[in-house]
Symmetry: C2
Subunit: 424 residues, 2 copies
């Protein structure tokens, strides 16, 4: 079950561990200075990075890569500028390390403090977009962790150039370059090595499609934070403000359908379903949304110009990431809750209702990372919630749930201070 | 790699999930009332429970079980009384559910609250001691979780009687009996089912020896909280108060050597090693402790009456859980830190020193769940730290680290409340 680690991988992971030890004791000023130098160096090395990216793009084009993937792979000067600007945001965030989460004095005089400390070595597994390389590395650095990165083979040259630049910056500050490393190689076995490196890697965060996440979660002996798969629901209650509801459904479905916090299923209370569905379907038709609708919903949207096909169980389960929306009519908030309990991936659900009692009931019963009340599902995002940055959105219950930023990249140590105290 | 679930196990886990849904919405008063009724029922069913325990003991004796294990298996009236008293302590703890961990208003007017909610279904895998059955079930109930318990085969009758009593109490309160269940069967395959029940079980907490923990951690697809293995170190600095240090070392090694927070290795700064080791070895000889000592330490303890044998790498790695102690002399605090980084299991280390600078340096560099400063390692314990209860001591970095009680059995939901807010 466990992949044996290659000598090369083991050596790299051990260098990461050594770097992590030196990162533990850095001050916030030292880490911020390193981040500033990294930003400057990325600016300075723009041409080399662009050349490396051009190589990746040329190879991808030769291989007939789809346009969407090519776009994600492309690192324009504007995108590099955004990456550099994002580093300034990370630099300005408060350092999580050293924060006292709990602190108290026991009756026997022992003083107890639970203090945030770095995780150690953070492994990241991600797909084409090269900005993740810099985002992950700088968030890890700010939180005192060594980053061991496994990007996609399609971005290998770009990632190598970005990491080489960041390492050069660290060395110019006399800091360990191994604070930021790519795993050796880009083959599939490197994923297995990273998730099997128990004792060398402290946590692995996969960012990507359901297939990657599933492979990591079932194969890992290193602790994992599962991220980002979202089958998000919107429930429009009998007591909803229907004009607001139209705007929210359109926003949640169409503003950026390819992301995990976009809405995939709409459930409407029967008391308002005819009126609401007639309205919202006109608006959705403008965005060329296809509805996958149950019988009642299909009848209600007739004549609106929206395309409607019969809904199946596969639709209720789907994370479309496209201009498709499953639609059903329900008898009650409880039926909506039951539907969500059966089909949701536990990312984000929205309830649109002016009834405080109904909202309260929905909040108590629904078990998801985030619940939006009279707001779009699209707000489940580290940037939108004011975290200043995001390393991913956890859809598991352990350690972190929902958008993750710096505190989620830390663990804690209890410091128990006495004066010769022994236990009786 | 993943064990297929038996129909019986799957059905049981689904009943746990259904029970978990009803537990989510209970008030603290309702849960406390159930705990009170459970305590009363355990009191009332004492004879049946004793009879079941007698069966387990008779079978264990027939099988030639060792005296220590027989003792752990034995449920005397006094021990049952202690179990019942412990429920009152859990009842008096604050309900973690509903606690607002973070709450703020965003510039756009959205209100954000991160609220503690139950995990859902908590799987526990543990060994002989029957008190864990009640401790785990009541801590899960108080935190709104369904408990799916897998005790050892040797305690099967006792555990069945305890669980039957607790379920009877829940039914008398019209609460779901499936809030507390044993997995069907006691064979080895039930461990594999529990750790492979991804999507049915939200977290598994193994409590037991290194072999069990390792099996769970490497085989699980359900998220795991690793607990309880401890190779704890004490470093006696050049600036230590040596009389205090003698008392602390004797306490940490001998007060209860069979537990994970007992000390296993003693490292002494060369500046005080002759004087300190001469003193401490006399005290340890009184407790029949065997030292596994390096050359210098061996020379220093000569004539004290303590038994000393040469130390090996196996000793530095050992969690003895016995009256054995590995002892080494070091040149500096940094040499002690390096030794700890190499050999520690990351549970608890102690530094005994009156130098604030040295303590600070040790705290910054050592990466363990707990660090005791001028105190015994034995304080790393939920009860001692004032948590009122303990479900285990986490030795992993994800989710919880160190002693775990009610808050560690919860996750969170972000509630994002707007007034028709959409994302632009």
């Amino acid at each position: 079950m466990t992949t044996p680690l290659s000598d090369e991988f083991r050596a790299a992971a051990q260098r990461s561990r050594a770097a992590a030890r030196s990162l533990r004791t850095l001050t916030a000023d030292e880490k911020n200075r390193a981040l500033a130098v990294i930003a400057e160096q990325l600016d300075r090395d723009g041409e080399q990075i662009a050349a490396a990216n051009a190589e990746d793009l040329a190879r991808a084009q030769q291989q007939g890569t789809a346009a969407g993937l090519l776009d994600r792979l492309t690192l324009t000067q504007d995108r590099l500028d955004e990456i550099v600007e994002a580093i300034a945001v990370v630099r300005d965030l408060p350092d999580p390390i050293g924060e006292v989460i709990r602190g108290y004095r026991l009756p026997n005089g022992l003083s107890v403090e639970q203090i945030r400390v770095p995780m150690g070595v953070v492994g990241m597994i991600y797909e084409a977009r090269p900005n993740v390389t810099v985002d992950a590395a700088t968030l890890c650095l700010k939180s005192g962790n060594a980053a061991l990165l496994r990007g996609s083979a399609s971005a290998a040259n770009t990632n190598a150039a970005l990491v080489a630049t960041m390492r050069r910056a660290l060395m110019s500050e006399s800091m360990s370059a191994d604070s930021i490393q790519l795993v050796p190689g880009t083959g599939h076995e490197t994923v297995d090595e990273l998730i099997g490196a128990r004792g060398l890697v402290d946590v692995v965060i996969p960012r990507g499609g359901a297939e990657l996440i599933n492979r990591v979660v079932t194969g890992a002996s290193v602790p994992v934070i599962e991220t980002g798969v979202g089958n998000c629901h919107i429930y429009v209650d009998a007591a909803a403000n229907l004009d607001q509801a139209v705007a929210i459904v359109v926003n949640a479905k169409t503003q950026r359908p390819s992301v995990c916090n976009a809405a995939e299923t709409l459930l409407v209370h029967r008391a308002v379903s005819d009126e609401f569905l007639a309205k919202v379907s006109v608006a959705l038709a403008d965005h060329d949304v296809t509805l996958h609708a149950d019988e009642e919903a299909t009848a209600a949207v007739a004549g609106s110009g929206v395309e409607a096909v019969p809904v199946t169980d596969a639709d209720w389960a789907a994370e479309y990431y496209s201009f498709d929306l499953a639609v059903g009519v329900v008898d009650s908030v409880d039926q909506a809750i039951n539907h969500i309990q059966r089909w949701s991936s536990g990312h984000t659900e929205a309830i649109l209702s002016d009834s405080a009692t109904t909202v309260q009931h929905f909040l108590a019963a629904v078990d998801s990372a985030a619940i939006a009340v009279n707001a779009s599902t699209r707000f489940t995002d580290g940037g939108e919630l004011g975290f200043g940055a995001e390393i991913g959105i956890s859809t598991q219950k352990l350690h972190a749930r929902g958008p993750m930023a710096l505190p989620e990249l830390t663990t804690t140590t209890f410091v128990i201070t006495g004066n010769g105290h022994i236990r009786s």
